[in-house]
């Protein structure tokens, strides 16, 4: 059986399972559609939350980002897990006690204002749709590779599938479907990691293998990796390079963004008791940590294997003891078929620039000069081409002279010849790079899709809840029938899938980076208003409304200024580079500043406006104690 057929078979089987569960548990009433009758226990709920939470960003993208950056991208690991501590301590138990269905509903009641509720809905929609774009990016990458179609076709197929079971299922279907998806994705993530960890370090537990010894050379694995990448002119893997301030702010944005994500918070409305809400957050983190402690091992080992593929000598620990991989091997060898497969997606490419029949992969440090040269060539001005060529050659000579022990000069290297390596392909290509059996590759494909689709479905549920329950039933047309409400929910799901897919065709970054922007937006708008709603009796509707608007607007403007208006490439006002960022704060980190602005504005405005009325003060008192948490009431 060919790899293609095998992939298709495993992917189809996994989908049949999810859709089967969704149909079996089809939602019959609105209460079931949103919150599954609160019959879901903490362990199951934790597992479903983990599937909901771990998206294409975690599964497909994150290890790739860690692989190519190393220590600096530990921010993703800490940020996306630390948020659960905030959820368990600061939000989940109180929102469960409150006992309604959606996040905007809490905002509307606590701040006694339909306007606050509508602004909550708008914030939720912006956050969730940005997040869905990131998922669609991941779905596009996966389908394009495994169905051997273009990225755009892959995206549309994925969109159709998400639509089918999110719309049919509702929450109850999704809860059990997501438990199944968690199982598939965790198996898919860990099996190749175990194999690769065994190959490289002899330890079958990847988190231990990461800090273990490299089999080929007998040196500590991370030290070996550091040596290998610095030989090739890259920055040491374990060292800290970027700004400490930006690292702290980015981690914080991811953490408080996690705690402010509506589709995660909604999960804690479905547990039977307040104490279960706390426990649920703990279980969710346990299931998430299973993947998150493996991810840094996957990242570092993928980086090692990729580099060792390009420089076969690295297997034994001597980078330059053998020549670089040959072009003939890449084009014909059975072991390197994965390179040719990925080349067709356009996410991996190479070019024998110096015509020596070998593909030299290293950091030539001349990316900026190469771009300038290409621009000069398109302009056709000979003088400009000559100047750009000279600058490019000078930069290359500089890099080559600085490479420690590299035979760059005598072998006449002419720049990095592995011209494209998309970060997002690392996890999916990992089993192929390590020559693992075909069924492992097929399972990874199914796992990547499970991750992307489960999150997309959870987000769509949050979106449809906000539109049908908060916007239409709660404010615009309170008399709408239950049937009409369900209809509105489904229509809004379809509309959001369409918007996200269209925007996903030109995503503002790798899957994890797009998702990180969604976290910044959640951090700046939803988290602060929920915190103040629970921990302050002084902040009233004026403060909350002003705070949400200030936090969301400042963050979204900062992001658009660097990433382009509505992420349309070329419409950005400033270049998206560390030098151009305000105080070196990246757009993805700005959510933390947005949250500070939100808090400051809210407290400032509250100081000069009226205290919240007595019944709201009592509401705050009541959500602070667990006793008396009944089932949810819809209205």
């Amino acid at each position: 059986m060919s790899q293609f057929t095998l992939n298709l078979l495993v992917i189809t089987a996994s989908f049949a399972l999810y859709i089967g569960i969704a149909i079996y548990c089809r939602a019959k009433s609105t209460a079931e559609f949103y919150a599954a009758n609160r019959g879901v226990g903490p362990v199951m709920n934790g597992m479903a939350t983990a599937a909901d939470w771990m998206s294409a960003a975690s599964f497909i993208s994150m290890a790739g980002l860690i692989a190519f950056t190393g220590y600096d991208n530990s921010t993703y690991l800490m940020g996306w897990t630390g948020g659960y501590v905030l959820l368990a301590l600061l939000l989940a138990p109180y929102l469960r006690k409150f006992g309604k269905f959606t996040v905007p509903e809490f905002i509307g009641d606590r701040f006694y204002s339909p306007t606050a509720r509508i602004i909550g809905v708008i914030c939720l929609l912006i956050v969730s749709i940005t997040y869905v774009i990131g998922q669609m990016t991941g779905v596009g990458v996966t389908f394009s590779r495994y169905l051997e179609v273009s990225n755009a076709t892959g995206l549309w197929i994925g969109a159709g599938l998400v639509f089918c079971y999110a719309v049919l299922g509702g929450m109850k279907g999704i809860t059990y479907t997501q438990v199944a998806q968690y199982v598939v994705l965790i198996i898919a993530y860990t099996i190749p990691a175990v194999f690769i960890s065994l190959q490289l370090t002899g330890n079958f537990l990847p988190p231990l293998g990461l800090f273990g010894t490299h089999e080929g050379s007998g040196v500590a694995f991370l030290a070996q990796l550091d040596g290998l990448v610095t030989d090739l002119g890259f920055r040491a893997y374990t060292e800290h390079h970027n700004s400490t301030l930006d690292m702290v702010l980015f981690t914080m944005a991811l953490m408080i963004g996690t705690a402010g994500l509506p589709h995660v918070i909604i999960r804690f409305f479905t547990v039977p008791k307040v104490s279960d809400a706390r426990k649920s957050a703990g279980w969710a983190l346990v299931f998430i940590a299973l993947l998150y402690t493996v991810a840094p091992a996957v990242g570092s080992m993928a980086r090692f294997n990729l580099t060792a593929t390009m420089w076969p000598g690295a297997e034994q620990g001597e980078t330059f003891s053998q020549p670089a991989v040959s072009l003939a091997d890449i084009e014909t060898s059975e072991d390197l078929a994965w390179m040719r497969n990925w080349q067709t997606t356009g996410l991996l490419n190479w070019e024998d620039k110096n015509g020596d029949g070998l593909i030299q992969y290293y950091n030539d440090g001349a990316a900026a000069q190469a771009t300038a040269l290409a621009a000069a060539r398109t302009s056709g001005d000979q003088a400009a081409i000559d100047t750009a060529q000279a600058a490019y050659d000078a930069r290359l000579a500089e890099t080559h002279a600085a490479l420690p022990g590299a035979p760059a000069v005598e072998q006449n290297w002419a720049g990095n010849e592995l011209t494209t390596v998309n970060n997002d392909i690392m996890v999916l290509a990992n089993p192929e790079i390590a020559n693992l059996p075909g069924w492992v590759i097929a399972i990874v494909a199914a796992g990547g899709l499970a991750a992307a689709l489960s999150t997309a479905a959870g987000l769509l549920l949050a979106i449809s809840g906000a539109v049908s329950h908060d916007l239409i039933k709660g404010t615009l047309r309170p008399n709408i029938s239950e049937k009409g409400e369900l209809m509105a929910a489904r229509v809004s799901m379809a509309a959001s899938i369409l918007v996200a897919t269209l925007l996903g065709l030109n995503p503002p970054g790798f899957a994890a980076q797009t998702v990180a922007l969604a976290f910044g937006l959640a951090a700046s708008s939803i988290f602060p208003v929920l915190m103040m709603g629970i921990f302050s009796k002084r902040v009233g509707k004026e403060g909350a409304i002003a705070g949400m608007i200030a936090g969301m607007l400042s963050t979204i403007l900062y992001i658009f200024a660097y990433k382009g208006w509505f992420f349309v490439a070329g419409t950005n006002m400033f270049p998206d580079t560390p030098d151009a960022w305000l105080f070196g704060i990246s757009p993805a980190s700005f959510g933390t500043i947005g949250a500070v602005i939100n808090f400051a504005v809210a407290f400032g405005v509250s100081a000069v406006s009226q205290r919240p009325p007595a019944h709201v003060q009592e509401l705050v008192e009541s959500i602070r104690v667990p006793r008396g948490a009944g089932g949810a009431v819809a209205h």
Binding site: S74, F211, F221, L222, V274, G282, R624
Partner: protein, 85 residues
């Protein structure tokens, strides 16, 4: 009135536990993982240093422990103040 006082004491106790947990939360991630990493650079762990371990694994394990500690402590506190479900 005594009800109000009791719930006030409960809330203050809850806040105290939250502060302690959040201090540890910040120490293992922002502290050991990022800002204090240079101070821990002397302690080597598998080819790198302790700060790297905290950033990539240690902090996550601490987070799990913190949530379960908080859950256990709060269940006791709920019972002590008679506000459990």
């Amino acid at each position: 009135m005594s009800d109000r006082q009791s719930s006030n004491a409960y809330w203050q106790a809850n806040l105290r536990i939250i502060y302690i947990c959040l201090a540890i939360w910040a120490l293992v991630s922002y502290g050991f993982g990022i800002i204090l990493r240079p101070l821990l650079s002397g302690i080597s762990v598998g080819g790198t240093d302790l700060g790297f371990w905290f950033a990539q694994q240690g902090s996550i394990l601490c987070f799990i422990a913190l949530i379960f500690f908080y859950t256990w402590r709060m269940n006791r506190l709920d019972a002590e103040h008679g506000v459990d479900e």
